[in-house]
Each structure stands twice: as C-alpha cells, then as structure tokens.
C-alpha cells in the first residue's frame, strides 16, 4: 500500500479518535464536578457512593470498563442494541472513567482554597452559588489546570483503547493495515499522529495556563 493511502486511512481513523476525545471531555469535565460535589457532600451516603464509584473507576483497567459497558446491555439485560451503540459505549466508558479522575482533581483544588475566601464572600453577602462560581471556581481552575492537562494528554493516548470493541479509530485502523501489510509502518505513522495531537494539546493548555497567570 502506498504511504499516501496509509495516511489517508489513518486520517479517517483520526477523525473518530478526535470525536472520542472531544466528546469525552465535553461530558466528563462537568460530570467530574458533580462527582466531586458528591464526594465532598455532607450527606454521608452520597459521599460513600461517590467514593466507591471513584475507587472502582480508578482501580480497574479502562480497557475492561470499555468491554463491560459495551457488552453489559446484552449479557446482563438481554437487550440487543443497534450498531450505533458501539460508539456510544466508548463515549460512556471514557466519560465515566475520566469523570472519576477529574473529580479527584477538582476535590484537591477546592480543598486547597482557604476557608477565609468563603468567609469573606459570606460577609459580603454573596449567596452560596455566587460564592462558588464567582470566588471559588475561578481559583480552583487555575490550581487544577496542570493536573487536568496531564489527564487530557493521557486521554489522547487512551482513545486507542477503543480498538478492543472494534471502533474504527486511528489505532484500530493502523493495526488492521499493519496486519494486512505485514509491516509496522502504519503503526509508526499512527504513533507520529498521536504525538502531534498531543503537541497541539500541550500548546493549547499552555496558552490557557498563561492566560490565568495574571495573579499568583
């Protein structure tokens, strides 16, 4: 196969990889905040639920979670889902996994904010909601950004795990080409693409961090 053909096929796969990447972030970043809220709740059962959820998500392989989310509807509930479910399963699995990691990062960030910030806000008459969104969250974002960047870079690479349920993302495609051509060149090109993707992610995140650098 011509190299240009390989690249064309891989770029097709990359579109799927990018879709997985973006949709996962779109859902898991806010979901992580909700899980962090549960994890820090004063209501003990909710706190425990969040804690157990986080520990399962972080304590078992993401690849296994992908398989479970994909096959559970059939084996557990006996439902036959449409072909589209394959992609939905990937998004669900990645989202619930990454939300757990983001939740712990948010929690660390929120707990790092001095209680005096809440007290000053209360004395000035801000509501609980205003305090969170105007005073606390902007500071938390700055604190957690480096850790979020790490996770985002890991996510770029983790999208390749979707091959276990045969999603035609870049790595799956590269593996197929490599098998049929008996050559690893497609895998090397895929590796280069992941690398470039992450260079871009790092660049964007650095810009965001720089924008938040106006105070210490």
């Amino acid at each position: 196969m011509m190299l240009s053909k390989v690249i064309e096929l891989l770029l097709g796969g990359m579109v799927t990889s990018i879709e997985i990447f973006l949709l996962t972030l779109l859902f898991s970043l806010p979901l992580g905040l909700i899980v962090a809220g549960g994890r820090m709740s004063r209501f003990a059962p909710l706190r425990w639920l969040a804690k157990i959820y986080i520990s399962i998500m972080r304590g078992t392989p993401l690849m296994l979670q992908l398989i479970v989310v994909f096959f559970a509807p059939y084996y557990v509930f006996g439902v036959n889902l449409s072909a589209d479910y394959r992609f939905i399963a990937v998004i669900i699995a990645f989202t619930i996994n990454y939300a757990a990691y983001f939740a712990e990062i948010y929690r660390g960030g929120i707990e790092s904010i001095n209680s005096g910030q809440y007290e000053a806000a209360q004395v000035l008459g801000y509501s609980k909601l205003e305090t969170f969104f105007i005073i606390i969250m902007p500071q938390v974002i700055k604190v957690v950004l480096p850790s979020i960047t790490n996770e985002v870079i890991t996510l770029v690479k983790d999208t390749s795990l979707s091959f276990v349920i045969a999603i035609p993302e870049m790595f799956t495609v590269a593996k197929q080409i490599a098998a049929s051509e008996a050559s690893i060149s497609a895998l090397l090109v895929a590796g280069l693409f992941y690398y470039l993707f992450n260079m871009l992610v790092a660049f964007v995140m650095e810009r965001v961090e720089a924008r938040l650098d106006y105070y210490e």
Binding site: N114, G116, Q117, E119, A120, A121, Q122, V123, L124, G125, Y126, E130, I134, I135, P138, Q139, K142, Y214, Y215, E216
Partner: protein, 227 residues
C-alpha cells in the same frame, strides 16, 4: 436603643466553653476595642456577631449592614483591587455601577491607593492589601465595621499605616468594634474598652478606667505588654 446589642451569648466547641455569658452594647458612632489574651474568645465573639459562627444561646440584636476586616485580609486573589471593592455592592446590593465605581475611587483615595485600582492583591504589600480590604468593607456602606486583629499579620513598620486609617475612620464617627493587641492604639482610639479573659468580660469601661483597673488578671495582662 443601641445599634448592636449582645445578650448572654454562649458558645462552646465540643466541651471547650469559649464564650460564657457575654453581654455588650455598641452605640452608633462608638469605637469599642476588645483586648485580652490569646484564646480568650475574642475572635469567636466577632464571628458569632458576624454570623460566621452559630452561637449556642443568647441574643444578638442588630439591624443593618456590617463589614468585617480579617487579620489576613482575605482579598480575592483573582480579582483586581477595583473588582474586589465593587463586585459585592454591584452584585449583592444591586447598586448602580457608576455610583459604586465613584464610591470605590473615593475610598481608594482615602486609603492612599488611587494608583492601585488595576493591581492584583499579590502585587501589593500587606499594609496595602489590608487597606484594600478596609475599602472593600466600607464600599458596602456598613453601619458598623468589625476588625479582628487587623495589624497582626503585618510587619511592625506597616502596622502604623493601618492604625492611622482606623483613626481617620473614628474621626469620621464610623461605628467600629476592634479586636487588637495594640494596647497604645486601643487606649488612644477607643471610646470603650472590653477586656476579655477565658470567655468572660472581666473589665469594661473607658480606656482610663480599664487601664488603671485593680483587677489582677487585667494587671497581669497589661504587665506583659509593658515588660
């Protein structure tokens, strides 16, 4: 009626009784200084009055707006000086933006910080930060202003600038309750001094009365400052 009335206030943390039956009044325009050894309950008293802590029993009667100036400023680090001062009056009190900004500029002028509008707290000295936090409290047009050791986090050479600001406010008849370890300042600025020890008010009166008290605990406490 007094502007602020505290009656039979009691507060414990677990089995540590921190406030044992505190009663006091503050009149409009009065400056009250609260002194006393560390752990005597001064901060807890201010925190109960300002709703940061829930008292176990007793009554706090106060109608109006209050401001609280903290020992370590608690400015919002991600907001500029101007936003620190104007955001609550605009968002919380729903006041006119233009009026609030004019008010803030006037206060910054009064604090000698006119050139710091756009600075961030981290770019200011401790004394400047504390002046911003006083301006932030004043921007709410409080009927009473509470200070919890406003100079304790400052280097000695910066303490004076804050004490001067508070003296100016006293001269403008701002009602203030000031917890402080600065004895000379308390004596100089206060109309009334309360000496607290172990959760009770041991002495209360004019500065001259309190500082010449025969009470042994009071004398022991003052002795530490004059040694």
């Amino acid at each position: 009626m007094s502007l602020l009335q505290v009656k039979n206030l009691k507060k414990s943390f677990d089995d540590n009784v921190v406030l044992k039956d505190i009663s006091l009044n503050v009149e409009k325009g009065e400056v009250l200084a609260i002194i006393g050894p560390s752990g005597s309950g001064k901060s807890t008293l201010l925190r109960c009055i300002t709703d940061l802590e829930q008292e176990d029993s007793g009554e706090i009667n106060f109608e109006g707006t209050f401001g609280l100036v903290f020992q370590n400023f608690n400015l919002f680090p991600h907001h500029s000086v101007m936003k620190n001062i104007t955001n609550a009056p605009i968002r919380v009190q729903k006041r006119d933006k233009k009026e609030v900004f004019e008010h803030a500029r006037k206060l910054l002028g009064q604090m000698g910080l006119s050139d710091k509008e756009d600075a961030y707290p981290c770019e200011l000295s401790g004394g400047q930060q504390q002046r911003v936090s006083i301006a932030r409290a004043l921007a709410m047009n409080p009927d009473i202003l509470f200070f919890d050791e406003p100079t304790s986090a400052l280097d000695p050479e910066l303490t004076g600038e804050i004490l001067t600001v508070i003296k100016d406010l006293a001269a403008q008849h701002m009602t203030m309750v000031i917890v402080t370890h600065e004895m000379a300042f308390a004596r100089n600025v206060a109309d009334t001094i309360i000496f607290m020890d172990n959760g009770v008010i041991v002495e209360e009166g004019s500065p001259d009365e309190v500082f010449s008290s025969d009470n042994q605990r009071m004398k022991d406490f003052l002795g530490k400052f004059y040694d």
